[in-house]
């Protein structure tokens, strides 16, 4: 683990069953950075995010977090919004409250302070007015705001987002990214965002981790997203 890095991946292979989607992954993530995990559909972005979060154990290698004030860092996760079944009759507020469950012991009620914190997170994500609306009935962009609020409700040291702007219109996309930029600027939260949207990554993030043909390149946006590389990415998307 290097001096000021929050996350280190050492010789990591990720995948499903025995099938490795990505192998020999070595990377470090600076504390307080806003990084974009860029790659075409199927390049392994979501798989890598899930392995970092512990949802999908890595096939080989080590995923190591630096401690935060002597404890493991709290992780906030914004999954892809289409994974949620509309059969659940949950309000946006109830979805955000789930983010506090990590601090509430099993069988205990969620107290007033946690509820107030959840409301504050909704405000920060610009979703306060959605609080009482059914989560399943929200638009794509509204759902993302609520999911960001839920991730903030975990009081995270590290926020991981899986394709937060996929399938939503340009206005909603910009407003979600503005919310993330504000949160990052205000809290200096370490953020890792998987996206295949080159424009979003180039406009909003500081560091890029580029998954390309099973290899990983990492660096500042200005160095990595050169005209030649962009041409290659666009060419990949065309094909």
């Amino acid at each position: 683990m290097t001096g000021d890095s929050l996350l280190t991946l050492d010789q990591v292979a990720v995948g499903y069953g025995r099938h490795a989607v990505l192998s020999d992954v070595n990377l470090t993530l600076p504390r307080g950075s806003f990084s974009g995990l860029l790659g075409a559909n199927g390049s392994g972005k979501s798989t890598l995010i899930k392995s970092i979060l512990g949802i999908l154990p890595p096939l080989t290698g080590r995923v190591e977090f630096a401690s935060e004030a002597g404890r493991a860092p709290a992780l906030g996760y914004v999954p892809q919004r289409d994974v949620f079944d509309p059969v659940y009759l949950l309000s946006s507020f109830e979805v955000v409250l789930m983010g506090t469950c990590g601090r509430v012991r099993p069988g205990r009620r969620i107290d007033a302070a946690e509820k107030e914190w959840a409301r504050q997170c909704l405000r920060e994500a610009g979703a306060e007015q959605l609080s009482e609306q059914m989560f399943a009935q929200l638009s794509g962009g509204q759902k993302q705001r609520v999911l960001i609020a839920r991730a903030l409700a975990t009081k995270p040291d590290f926020l991981l987002l899986d394709e937060p702007t996929a399938g939503i219109d340009a206005t909603a996309r910009q407003s979600i990214m503005d919310v993330l930029r504000e949160i990052h600027a205000r809290q200096r939260l370490t953020i890792l965002m998987a996206s295949h949207d080159l424009l979003v990554v180039r406009t909003y993030v500081e560091h890029v981790i580029w998954l390309h043909q099973g290899r990983i390149q990492q660096g500042p946006v200005s160095q990595l997203l050169t005209p030649a590389n962009i041409e290659e990415i666009l060419d990949l998307e065309m094909h």
């Binding site: 059969v87 099993p106 059914m134």
Partner: protein, 297 residues
């Protein structure tokens, strides 16, 4: 409805009072756990488990007849409870293991278990003259002879299940709604899933023992389906399903008693009618112009 007949049914000295109480208990408990089967899209499990439970009862009677299980005082009920519980909990642990490994696998395993349980129940029934009478009654959903002990046990088990659901609702909902986030919140998802399935299995095995597989499945599925159409939050959904189940069990008993019908199938048929009517009402509400039924400003 005849008021005298209602008074008779609800009288504490009514000859079939235990059957009334048992019907209502099953009507309250099965929809409570059925809501989670509906939420987790495991309706097929709701069909299979009662049959697996019946198969467990058939095996227990068969083992007893073949001399593999010694004779017990209090015999039949204990035997049936053991068979039902062992088979249901075993199946549910197996299903929860399969669920972790993918949806297609669990659907195939539930389907296989369902068809095998049905086949074995019939084979054992045909070859077991001692168990035939009791098991046939259960399969038909006759809820006539209910002992005080059986009623007491059922009440205790269902009360524990309901209380556990109430206490751990937050955890059950989290692991059901978003398993991945539950993992990131350091929740032991496997434990909570298995715990949830065990509660469902326990409710089903006790229910099948009391009222048979048909009625159990009817109460697992139909009240949650009806309640989901009208509920606007999870609390309304869960408690609405429970209330619909309880009231339907009572009204079903009245109809069965009034027209001399078997109680279980009457309950299920009544729930079916309510479901159809509720669907028609829901559709007609949905077809109305948007402004006509929007209550929020």
């Amino acid at each position: 409805m005849r008021m005298e007949m209602w008074r008779e049914i609800l009288d504490p000295d009514f000859l079939l009072r235990n059957s009334v109480y048992m019907s209502v208990l099953v009507g309250l408990a099965c929809p409570l756990v059925g809501t989670y089967l509906l939420l987790r899209r495991l309706i097929f499990m709701g069909v299979a488990l009662p049959h697996i439970s019946s198969c467990g009862i058939a095996f227990a009677f068969a083992f007893h007849t073949w001399g593999l299980i010694p004779h017990m005082e209090e015999g039949e009920h204990t035997l049936a409870l053991a068979g039902s519980t062992i088979f249901t909990l075993g199946a549910i642990l197996g299903f929860s293991w399969f669920e972790k490994r993918g949806r297609s696998l669990i659907e195939a395993s539930i389907g296989t278990a369902y068809v095998l349980a049905g086949a074995w129940s019939i084979l054992l029934l045909v070859k077991n003259p001692h168990g035939e009478h009791g098991l046939l009654d259960r399969l038909k959903g006759e809820i006539i002879a209910v002992s005080n002990a059986s009623l007491g046990w059922t009440f205790v088990v269902f009360a524990i299940v309901a209380l556990t659901f109430f206490i751990f609702q937050k955890e059950f909902l989290l692991v059901s709604f978003d398993r991945e986030t539950a993992v990131t919140l350091k929740k032991n998802v496997d434990f909570w899933n298995t715990f949830l399935f065990l509660l469902i299995g326990l409710t089903i095995s006790v229910s099948v023992l009391s009222v048979g597989p048909l009625v159990t499945f009817g109460f697992l599925l139909l009240p949650p389906l009806i309640a989901h159409g009208f509920a606007s939050n999870m609390r309304q959904f869960i408690w609405g399903a429970t209330a619909i189940g309880g009231v339907s069990a009572l009204v079903g008993f009245y109809i069965a008693y009034r027209w001399d019908l078997p109680v279980g199938p009457t309950d299920v048929a009544l729930l079916g009618v309510v479901y159809v009517l509720s669907t028609i009402v829901n559709r007609s509400i949905a077809l109305r112009p948007a402004t006509a039924h929007k209550s929020s400003p």
